[in-house]
């Protein structure tokens, strides 16, 4: 499989060119209008390349094509563009020293958050690690909420107490900083859904680096024992910080590493493929129990702001991914080739995303730093302790 070569080439650092050899979404056959949906809207059909999916002990293959309305396509486009603009704004604010500490950007990986969000309901849940800004935005956190949090301001999603790695939102459980620890947490969220008997599930996300943590396999085991409605989603961006996947994982077929749990691998640079695979995964998990998913993707920037991202991979590799695999350009080309919308309509969305983020940056800058009095708040539930008695750095003298 081309995807196998993709990952193994990253592992050996040889034959870099094969990284970029798998089918570009821009080469996928153009869509044809196939009719109308139940709401009477015109729908378009988009075919997937055979290598966009691979499966492990999984019979319900994602479809070879997907129908989509203009509104759905434009929304996917807008959501990806919002995330990219959000990360671009974060990058600039970090370089202006308005964001401190760790900051992990998902530029290049936007199709995963956008495609996943489009395939689930607001009752479903997502939990991920520290590369979390895009998912928070998709779940419904406001751009100002995210950016203000990065800047440590009152308007932030955690009132400035969490920062980049700890952003939360509606049915979004973070934003977790300890590599791999969020995976069993996600299984626990799924347990809560099953316990309450509601038809909802949880995407429990982690990177290719975290995929080697022991507790990931503990979570697999219990999720299968108890048939929890959880999808373990590995965002494989080919490098765990600076370590190529194959140098850390004895098997880089992350979608097969659930062994007794079925798996799907999806081209994580194609938002329509991500959406279709997540739709199938969601339904499967609610009806049957856990599933392991692997999204093969690529981050354009470094692991975090302190990593230039060019010491363990070539600039040529990054540039090639940007120019041939980019998820936003890929969808844009599909939309234009199929005549779904005009370039002007897409530019209007680009502008809308840019304006939204510019405004969010301004609102965040205008938002005050937390009042000093809130330092002792939120340690315990209100009423169950007295914040005034919390010891600070200044000793209490007699």
């Amino acid at each position: 499989m081309l995807f196998n070569r993709l990952v193994s080439s990253a592992a050996t650092s040889s034959s870099r060119r094969s990284l970029f050899s798998f089918s570009s979404s821009t080469k996928t056959p153009a869509a044809a209008a196939i009719g109308t949906n139940a709401a009477g809207e015109k729908t378009y059909s988009f075919a997937f390349a055979p290598e966009d999916f691979d499966t492990h002990n999984f019979n319900a293959l994602p479809s070879t094509s997907t129908p989509a309305t203009k509104a759905e396509l434009l929304d996917l486009y807008l959501q990806m563009q919002r995330i990219r603009r959000l990360e671009t704004a974060s990058d600039q604010l970090y370089k202006s020293k308005l964001i401190r500490g760790f900051c992990h950007l998902s530029t290049g990986q936007e199709a995963i958050a956008a495609g996943m969000e489009a395939s689930i309901t607001k009752k479903d849940s997502i939990i991920t690690a520290y590369r979390c800004h895009g998912f928070a935005l998709g779940r419904g956190a406001s751009a100002t909420g995210v950016i203000a949090e990065l800047m440590g301001r009152t308007a932030g999603t955690s009132k400035g107490k969490g920062g980049s790695m700890h952003i939360f939102g509606p049915e979004f459980y973070g934003g977790n900083g300890i590599v791999g620890a969020q995976v069993p947490l996600g299984a626990g969220v799924a347990l809560a859904h099953k316990y309450r008997g509601i038809p909802a599930m949880c995407f429990s996300l982690y990177g290719d680096g975290a995929a080697n943590q022991g507790q990931v396999f503990e979570a697999y085991n219990m999720a299968k024992l108890w048939n929890l409605p959880v999808v373990f989603g590995c965002e494989n961006n080919l490098y765990g910080m600076g370590t190529a996947a194959g140098r850390a994982a004895a098997s880089t077929k992350y979608f097969t590493r659930g062994d007794y749990i079925p798996g799907i691998r999806v081209n994580g640079m194609d938002v329509l493929a991500v959406k279709e695979a997540c739709r199938v995964a969601r339904e499967y998990s609610i009806a049957n129990g856990p599933l392991v998913m692997e999204f093969v993707t690529y981050r354009y920037g470094g692991h975090s702001m302190s990593d230039p991202g060019t010491t363990y991979r070539s600039r040529e590799e990054i540039q090639n991914m940007r120019s041939t695999r980019d998820c936003i350009n890929g969808l844009k080309n599909r939309i234009l080739e199929a005549g779904v919308a005009t370039e002007e309509e897409l530019k209007a969305l680009d502008k809308a995303a840019r304006v939204e983020m510019d405004q969010a940056v301004e609102e965040s800058k205008a938002s005050p730093e937390p009042a000093l009095e809130v330092l002792n708040e939120d340690i315990y539930a209100p009423g169950s302790y007295n914040p005034a008695e919390v010891r600070g750095c200044e000793p209490k003298y007699l």
Partner: protein, 317 residues
């Protein structure tokens, strides 16, 4: 646990051997029959994983009781207790709650050697965001357990294996379904005027025995059962010192950075310091990994004699 599970549908128990085996120490006996396998869940031997799953369920609004067969095994899962459970409320600016109970036997049992004989009061007691209780008597065990389950915060309940088989007389009030012990309040087990002895868990019993010994010599010891490690009820200790002017702390855990160390430091920083007629004395477990041989094990845990000697030293008698 039974009363709280009957009272609140969202309360459930999970851990190793809690269901079909009725608990390694039979603590959960009968719960599976009563509540079914949805609410009494046997886990595999994977502490980090099941603690994480329990915390995740709590973040999503359920009230798990996560049993560690002993707290020694909680070290496998301590990241989930500290980083995931204790800190999420703060990290989320108060938007996400984590109402969970971690419970199980803590501290030294008998003849189980170093890896199974450790007190975690100081470990968990140091973590903001956690509440930590350490019951001594049947009254404590029931009241603190119910309070922990009802608490909206993550609570660590440090039980003691050697106390599971000990019976206590309890009042009708304690038997009531509404009996709850407030977390963060110590209990004066015995009033006295000459010296204050502060202890938690099983050593409270030793302190009471020591007090009985001392009474024979006319020394009236006040014995305080901490009940809670965090929040620590320093106010009750201060009030007692104002009366007795002497303080001895007793615990089964290691001495360095222990519960006694913290009490000594806080007392020294408080107005009680001016009321002390002699330095605070700590009676603790020995500063060694627990030995297996019976005679060596006995030397590694505080005894009634150690407490009597400490009190006499404090009183210069």
């Amino acid at each position: 646990m039974d009363e709280e599970m009957a009272r609140d549908e969202t309360v459930f128990l999970l851990g190793e051997e809690v269901a079909q085996y009725n608990g390694a120490y039979k603590v959960s006996k009968g719960l599976l029959e009563k509540y079914g396998d949805k609410r009494v869940i046997d886990t595999p031997i994977t502490e980090m994983g099941f603690a994480g799953i329990a915390v995740g369920a709590a973040l999503a609004g359920l009230k798990p009781i996560c049993e560690f067969m002993t707290f020694n095994f909680s070290m496998q899962a301590i990241d989930q207790v500290v980083n995931s459970a204790a800190k999420t409320r703060y990290m989320s600016g108060g938007t996400i709650e984590c109402p969970i109970v971690f419970r199980g036997p803590n501290g030294a049992a008998a003849g189980v050697a170093a890896q199974h004989s450790q007190c975690f009061a100081a470990w968990y007691g140091s973590v903001p965001g956690l509440k930590v209780v350490s019951p001594y008597s049947a009254e404590d065990a029931k009241g603190l357990m119910k309070a922990a389950i009802r608490d909206p915060n993550p609570v660590v309940v440090l039980e003691n294996e050697l106390m599971y088989g000990i019976s206590f007389e309890v009042s009708d009030e304690v038997l009531s379904k509404d009996f709850v012990v407030e977390i963060g309040k110590a209990k004066i087990e015995l009033e006295g005027s000459d010296v204050t002895i502060v202890a938690h868990s099983r050593p409270v019993g030793f302190a009471l025995e020591a007090a009985a010994e001392l009474a024979k010599e006319g020394i009236k010891a006040e014995v305080i059962n901490l009940r809670s490690i965090r929040p620590l009820d320093v106010a009750t200790i201060i009030e007692s010192i104002k009366k007795t002017n002497h303080l001895v702390t007793v615990e089964g855990g290691w001495p360095q950075f222990g519960v006694g160390s913290e009490i000594a430091a806080q007392i020294m920083e408080s107005e009680a310091f001016d009321h002390l007629d002699s330095p605070v004395i700590r009676v603790t477990g020995a500063d060694i990994p627990m030995p297996y041989a019976k005679n060596l094990e006995e030397l590694s845990l505080p005894s009634v004699n150690n407490i009597v000697n400490a009190v006499k030293k404090s009183l210069n008698k």
